[in-house]
């Protein structure tokens, strides 16, 4: 087990390094000229003249050969320094750090709602004996993944803020301000939770041990919740990494819709301003979160499921 953990840790570090490299290749080598962008943006308000561009070029090391630049930047990144944001001039790490809490709040609330509604829907759909109800419930998740999140958010604003005037339309104002964005965020994620859980619940209900339990005379609720759900939620755990990635990505759109401060809005702004260091920081941060979540899932999974621990670990990524 310890060897497995060490291996997984090394793998995670490898993926992060590679993610950094990919973002470096995409952002620093593709056509868009970062120097002209920097000279033309943000707080660095000297005029754009060739001399200044040349100065910036050498200052940021763009005159160096690509490998030299890469090693230089990677070295800095390893020390947690992703450079300064072009617009605003603050260190990328502190820009991300400042924006993070409100996004975490949103993502956590969205995840909780997604599990609550998605899980509840899956349970209800598999539990009910009425065919039409099951059909109806199972037709909701495909709807949930088909609706553009930004549009769902706008419609909620239109209905609950502008018409009914029940909830704030924008901003970070406390719990009430969190409701609409979190619900919006939970729609596509909850739909996926429901689909995955319903599928594995149906599989679990067909297993022999359920038949055994039934034969022993256990009641339907007991079979459903104690036996089937317990076994069905384990496979569902493997998609947590995917869900967190999806939640973070959706937060970009949702924070824009609700004018909420946070990492997503920072990202959208950074893309608009061609703020390359900041975009790179966000991309690597996204990969870090994804890798960490998967690492935790993988390390916790064997503890929950003794069959896998016995088999000596499994391939790390859920399909």
């Amino acid at each position: 087990m310890r060897r497995y953990a060490a291996l997984r840790l090394a793998q995670a570090a490898g993926v992060l390094w590679a993610a950094y490299t990919v973002s470096f290749l995409v952002l620093d080598l593709l056509p868009g000229d970062p120097v002209s962008a920097m000279a033309g943006a943000g707080a660095d308000q000297a005029g754009v003249d060739p001399a200044q561009i040349a100065r910036l070029r050498s200052e940021y090391g763009f005159d160096d050969p690509i490998p030299v630049q890469y090693v230089h930047y990677l070295g800095r990144a390893l020390r947690g320094d992703f450079g300064d944001s072009v617009a605003g001039g603050r260190p990328v790490t502190s820009v991300i750090g400042d924006a993070l809490p409100s996004t975490l709040q949103l993502v956590a609330a969205g995840m909780a709602l997604a599990v609550l509604f998605g899980g509840g829907l899956a349970l209800a759909a598999t539990y009910t004996a009425r065919r039409w109800l099951r059909q109806l419930l199972l037709s909701l998740p495909p709807l949930g993944v088909s609706v553009p999140t930004f549009w769902a958010g706008l419609m909620l604003v239109e209905i609950f803020s502008f018409r009914a005037r029940l909830l704030p339309a924008f901003g970070n104002g406390g719990l009430r301000g969190l409701i609409l964005p979190a619900v919006t965020l939970a729609i596509p994620t909850g739909a996926i939770v429901a689909q995955v859980l319903a599928k594995s619940l149906l599989t679990a209900l067909d297993e022999p041990y359920i038949q055994t339990a039934r034969a022993k005379g256990a009641g339907r609720p007991r079979i459903h919740l104690r036996h089937a759900l317990r076994n069905a939620s384990l496979p569902a755990l493997t998609v947590v990494g995917v869900l967190v990635g999806q939640l973070m990505a959706n937060s970009v759109v949702i924070e824009t819709v609700f004018s909420r401060n946070g990492l997503g809005r920072v990202t959208a702004g950074a893309v608009a301003a061609q703020d390359i260091p900041l975009v790179q920081g966000v991309v690597v941060f996204g990969a870090l979160v994804f890798v960490l979540v998967n690492l935790i899932v993988d390390l916790v999974y064997p503890l929950l499921d003794p069959r896998i621990a016995a088999a000596g670990g499994r391939r790390w990524r859920p399909a």
Binding site: G40, A87, G89, V157
Partner: protein
């Protein structure tokens, strides 16, 4: 006195006054939440030019003088009195005693001198302030509260300039910082509010200054402001601002467009409107870029625009189509509307005579090159995008393809410095015709890259002309030349329209149609 004669001409537009004047007894305390659409990325009043940000940073500083929005008269503020030499080259000010900045330092002649001395070094964002001080020779400190500002040549517009936010007085500690630091860290002023927190692109929070006792002579309330706190939230979507005001999430919003008027009115919101003086909203070409170097192309574009339609479709009720390069509320304005009529037939024939022939897709072309021009704009007002799309639609009918390119507000100054644009869409607010010189003289920053012509002489002449009648004659000639050669293409006058909740009182427009919040209170 010279300035009085000049500004007496300021005819003020619709609205005027302010919100809910005289309704109930003013109450002290409370927070006013004001939603604006954009952030200039800077909190230094001397460097900010876009209205959305001026609304907040204006409250940080006091000016030497103030300008009465209804008469245009220059009145005391930090300066109790002043005299102007007969040749309009030397201005002597007497400061009010006992004024302090929020860092505790006192307002003295030395501090004002330091402010003026630093203005020419402000760089690209300081274009307005630099223009006001053009020909600046120096400031002589006579005593602690008396100083003389000297200019190389007569500078008729300077007294009005001292009333603007651009020449608001900052503490010595702030003046010593670099322009970039002042933008990012904010500045220390003597104004009725102090900067509490600035989160770029998100919010600007101000707190009332305790012990403030040197307000403008125009203000009704003596001493400190009524409100405790001002929060300026940056909400880029006008729909969100409007909805936020209707649902009570914010107390006031800037830049109301025509689309939102009826909804706001029906929910009991007060709409405050005032026409902005200065250079109207228009398409300003980079005059060195082909095909805009061609005067006929510029003139044809000017003829292809239906200004009335734009004013009536997009802008707030009461907005006037441009009838000159200056708004009708600017002193010295002359109506040259005949040259700005909508005449697509003449525009087409002008382009035809210039050698442009119709291409397959309806866009004119010459020598294989399409008549396609890019208009660059920043989202400083909710009306910009629909106005430009309508312009695009109108110009298409004369065979001109107008592409639209949006840029962040913070990049506007950069663009002007770099000249990296075909057409810029924008306006400049100022209650003095000298704004023509700041914008169009080839001897100053010359953001639109005009060639050196007789226009320069007119612009310099009006700035130096102590005789009011003669000055205004020069201003009129300058307007005619600019419009005739289409150095800029005027479109529509800016009328600032604010939406203010019923419970908010005493939001006052200043002479430049920006706001003063010292007298504002929430009932």
């Amino acid at each position: 006195m010279l300035a009085a004669g000049l500004t007496a001409l300021t005819a003020c537009g619709s609205g005027g006054g302010g919100s809910g004047a005289g309704a109930g007894t003013p109450r002290t305390g409370g927070t006013l939440t004001f939603a604006v659409g954009s952030d200039a990325g800077c909190t230094d009043p001397q460097q900010v030019g876009s209205n959305d940000t001026i609304y907040s940073v204006r409250q940080l500083v006091d000016s030497l003088t103030d300008q009465d929005p209804s008469t245009g008269k220059i009145v005391p503020w930090l300066a109790q009195s002043w005299t102007i030499s007969r040749d309009a080259r030397t201005f002597t000010f007497h400061l009010r005693p006992g004024v302090t900045f929020s860092d505790g330092s006192a307002l003295t002649s030395e501090v004002v001198k330091a402010n003026f001395d630093a203005v020419p070094k402000l760089g690209p964002l300081g274009l307005l302030a630099e223009g006001y001080l053009s020909g600046y020779q120096g400031t002589d400190v006579v005593d602690d509260l008396t100083f003389k500002v000297r200019f190389k040549q007569p500078n008729a517009q300077f007294l009005q300039a001292t009333a603007t936010h651009s020449l608001g007085i900052e503490a010595a500690a702030s003046v010593r910082k670099t322009p970039q630091q002042r933008c990012a860290e904010g500045i220390v002023g003597s104004g009725p509010f102090t900067l509490q927190k600035y989160v770029p692109s998100q919010s600007i929070t101000l707190a009332a200054r305790k012990g403030y006792a040197w307000g403008s002579s125009l203000w009704k309330k003596q001493g400190a402001a009524y409100l405790d706190r001002l929060v300026f939230k940056i909400l880029p979507e006008s729909g969100v601002r409007t909805g936020g005001l209707q649902s009570g999430q914010v107390d006031a919003i800037g830049s109301v467009g025509r689309a939102d008027e009826s909804a706001l009115k029906s929910s009991g919101v007060q709409l405050l409107a005032r026409a902005n003086p200065g250079v109207v909203f228009g398409l300003s070409p980079n005059n060195t870029r082909s095909p805009l170097t061609d005067e006929k192309v510029r003139q044809a574009i000017a003829l292809g625009i239906d200004r009335q339609q734009i004013a009536q479709t997009v802008f707030p009720t009461g907005t006037q189509p441009a009838t000159s390069v200056l708004a009708h509320t600017t002193p010295g304005y002359v109506n040259v509307g005949a040259a700005l009529s909508h005449d697509p037939a003449r525009a087409k024939s002008l382009l035809q005579s210039d050698g442009w022939t119709p291409g397959g897709d309806g866009v004119l072309q010459k020598g294989g090159k399409k008549l396609s021009i890019t208009a660059t704009w920043a989202p400083v007002a909710a009306t910009n995008k629909p106005a430009l799309e309508l312009l695009q639609q109108q110009l298409k009918t004369i065979g001109v393809q107008l592409a639209l390119k949006e840029q962040p507000v913070a990049q506007l100054a950069q663009l002007q410095t770099s000249g990296n644009f075909d057409l810029l869409f924008g306006n400049v607010t100022r209650a003095d015709p000298d704004i023509l010189r700041s914008s169009f003289s080839s001897k100053l920053a010359n953001p639109y890259r005009l060639p050196a012509t007789g226009l320069d002489g007119l612009l310099d002449g009006q700035a130096a002309e102590p005789d009011q009648a003669k000055r205004l004659d020069l201003v009129a000639q300058a307007q005619r030349q600019i419009v005739q050669h289409a150095y800029t293409i005027p479109v529509v006058e800016l009328q600032t329209e604010l939406g203010v909740a019923k419970k908010v009182h005493g939001v006052l427009f200043d002479a430049s149609s920006r706001i003063q919040l010292h007298d504002a209170w929430i009932g």
